[in-house]
Symmetry: C2
Subunit: 146 residues, 2 copies
């Protein structure tokens, strides 16, 4: 995972939040469900909206959805662009463009599909740790003929 | 606008947040750009993701986008379902399904298009007032033969 651009500073609370945001995408790339489990708030308030799907509520259901996605996707790599972070009183909002390389199940390993989604990730401070509260991702439509 | 179901209580901070969430959709239905302007946080941290589009940042740019949408849409009505609200330390996350009736420009007034989107709306308490900080909406794909 590489973050091409950031519109925020290198230190302070925004940096701590962005480190967790990076850890989130790296955990997906490694298909590391244990790391994903630790990154999310551990209660029923967790919300995850995968592209084109309705919201999933609660830590257990959200993690089940990631397990299914990771099991069906042998290869997934993110290049994040346009990363922004705003921190207010224990809650932070990160937005980023997710530029995806993936290999879908049943396709030759040499076939990669590119994709472009945008995500809003909301983090909540839990003691000294920032945890993912909300992940909402949606596909960006390419406009023909601009 | 009508909210068919809520998974939250009728009083307390969640009720105050949901009242602002309702006011947001009613302002869109009335094409009331002044009301929308008052509902959003009044600084550069406002974030709005319309379905299929990249994020728009900042109060002025977000309001311009709504002006363009309202000018191009003679009729827009929401029925909200699956409304949930979680409130933590001055920030609230609302999720809802937006079931839309709209009339697109250039079509006969009797032609209405239905649509189904989901939204994550994040509100921030500004003094005694809850204001919209983030609106991220995305279209839900219907599954064929599912």
């Amino acid at each position: 995972m590489s973050a091409v651009s950031e519109r925020v500073g290198d230190d302070g609370p925004a940096a701590a939040v962005l480190a967790v945001n990076t850890a989130f995408y790296e955990a997906i790339e490694r298909a590391d469900i244990d790391a994903l489990e630790r990154l999310w708030v551990e209660d029923g308030t967790a919300v995850c909206v995968h592209p084109g799907l309705p919201p999933i509520h609660g830590h257990k259901a959200v993690l089940r959805s990631w397990s299914a996605i990771l099991a069906a996707t042998p290869y997934l790599q993110f290049v994040l662009t346009d990363v922004t972070a705003e921190v207010r009183s224990g809650v932070a909002v990160v937005t980023c463009s997710e530029n995806l390389l993936s290999a879908a199940e049943g396709m030759p390993d040499t076939v990669f599909a590119g994709g472009h989604a945008v995500a809003t990730n909301v983090f909540r401070k839990d003691g000294e740790t920032w945890r993912l509260w909300v992940h909402h991702a949606s596909v960006v439509q390419r406009r023909d003929g601009g």
